[in-house]
């Protein structure tokens, strides 16, 4: 088996732990409220700061990944995050939570984000980049499904302090050795080549490793003068708007439609389950077809899901949204990361995808505020849902308009000797 798949397994675990622990934050809110005699809003403020700090950290770690490679960035981030996570057990006030979780953990965990792990994957895989990215992303979904319940039961059994110490120890005693032993920044660190092709074969001599695309850039800011990075970032900004707002306001909306919290929870669970499968299917398809078509399609499908919330009766809309929305939920991540790598190459992928991730975080923060403001003032989510559907339609059209065949190395590759070899490697992709 190609060594890259072991790396995917290790990065899957890193994503599982990082996203699972972040999603588990909500489990502790009630306990902290009682222990510290503070309001939900005060604790949530620390979480909100954390979201913004995490967004800002993404291009920083992306830049570091481009400069030093994914392995050292990942290891350092994992070490600091693990240590700080265990340190949460010593906190006794919201101020402490704000400093340790809102700033330190939220910043350091940015180094375990997709702009670091995605770069490592992109350096190991080209032909199966889509499916490899999808497996990586699915680690986050599984983390939510497994690690959040784990934290919840730990809270019941051993208390919140011990739960955070155990989480930190898992990162330090299991995560760090795993990353140290398994993860290498790029294939030639251990004498291999991208996709595991034999370096002495025809493909190895003239194939993937030497491939250069027409838009490959030496400096990350050179990419800013071309269209695809803006098209992809716009789509990702809309992705942030539409996923984060639903993550926060879905139950509130369901309650406003006289749907119980339990039923809303079940629908959201269904959405998550469909999403985990949807990401893998989209990843598989993206290695065969143009990624921009799938990406545009994903945004349009999500737009359709938003329309169901506006036009269908609440109890039907709930399930329609869960099924249709679930098909598109996290599927944008492997597509955007792979497309960015295909168009601009892997040399500056960390910084470029970090910028896209930052736009995702800011879109999410903005939407959570505006959705809440609209509901508080107008007593309905209809206007925000219309805005969500329109932005998704725009994102779909913008992504469909990306000139992938002209700009992507999958379809238009120039060898190191600048010999144009258009479409020769991924024949069959349409």
């Amino acid at each position: 088996m190609f060594y890259g798949w072991y790396i995917i397994a290790a990065l899957f675990f890193a994503t599982f732990l990082s996203i699972g622990a972040r999603q588990g934050f909500g489990v502790f809110v009630k306990t902290w409220e009682e222990d510290w005699a503070v309001s939900t809003a005060a604790i949530s403020f620390a979480a909100a700061i954390g979201t913004l700090v995490n967004g800002f950290s993404q291009p920083v770690f992306g830049w570091l990944t481009d400069k030093f490679g994914g392995r050292p960035v990942l290891l350092a981030s994992f070490f600091v995050t693990g240590l700080a996570t265990a340190g949460v057990a010593t906190i006794s006030s919201v101020l402490g939570l704000m400093v340790l979780y809102g700033f330190i953990i939220s910043f350091s965990s940015g180094g375990i984000g997709f702009q670091t792990t995605g770069v490592i994957v992109a350096r190991w895989f080209e032909k199966k980049r889509g499916v490899a990215m999808a497996v990586l992303v699915s680690g986050g979904s599984v983390g939510g499904l497994v690690f959040v319940p784990f934290l919840s039961y730990l809270l019941i059994e051993v208390g919140w302090q011990a739960a955070w110490i155990i989480t930190g120890l898992i990162a330090l005693l299991i995560g760090i050795p795993l990353l140290l032993i398994v993860v290498k920044s790029k294939p030639d660190d251990i004498g291999l080549t991208i996709d595991g092709v034999d370096p002495n074969s025809e493909e190895g001599l003239h194939g993937s490793a030497d491939a250069v695309g027409p838009k490959f850039v030496d400096k990350w800011f050179d990419a800013l003068s071309s269209r695809p990075i803006w098209q992809l970032s716009f789509g990702y900004f809309v992705c942030g708007i539409t996923t984060t707002s639903i993550g926060v306001h879905f139950v509130r909306w369901a309650n406003s439609e006289d749907i119980t919290t339990g039923t809303a929870a079940l629908a959201f669970g269904l959405l998550s389950g469909i999403n985990a499968a949807g990401v893998l299917v989209v990843g598989l398809l993206s290695d065969r077809f143009q990624r921009k078509n799938l990406l545009g399609g994903v945004y349009l499908v999500r737009g359709l899901a938003f329309l169901t919330l506006i036009f269908l009766p609440g109890d039907i809309a709930l399930w329609a949204f869960a099924v249709i929305g679930g098909m598109s939920w996290l599927a944008t991540v492997p597509l955007t990361a792979s497309l960015t790598a295909d168009v601009y190459g892997v040399r500056n992928l960390g910084m470029l995808f970090g910028l896209a991730n930052m736009s995702h975080a800011f879109g999410g923060a903005l939407a959570v505020f505006l959705f809440g403001w609209a509901f508080t003032n107008w007593g309905s989510y209809n206007v925000p849902f219309v805005v969500g559907a329109i932005t998704l339609l725009a994102a779909g059209v913008v992504c469909l308009s990306i000139s992938e065949k002209t700009n992507s190395v999958r379809f238009n590759r120039i060898s190191q000797s600048n010999e144009l070899d258009s479409g020769s490697v991924t024949a069959g992709a349409s």
Binding site: A9, F13, G26, A41, F150, E157, I181, G247, T261
Partner: protein, 67 residues
Amino acid sequence: MPNPLETVLHHSEPIDPTLWEWLSLKIDDVLGLHSSAMVFILGAVTVLFPVVVMLLVWRRHRITRRD
């Protein structure tokens, strides 16, 4: 004008505590296991996966070195 903080944060991110409380009760109902058993099962899943990956890589290194 409502307090913007309260407007934004109907609850903390990203798991709604009320939602999670309901979910955990449902899980308990369906599986009927004590919470300590759930800690053991979910903890084992979390720990075993990376250990197995490390063992597979170690085995691969050993075979490669022997060859």
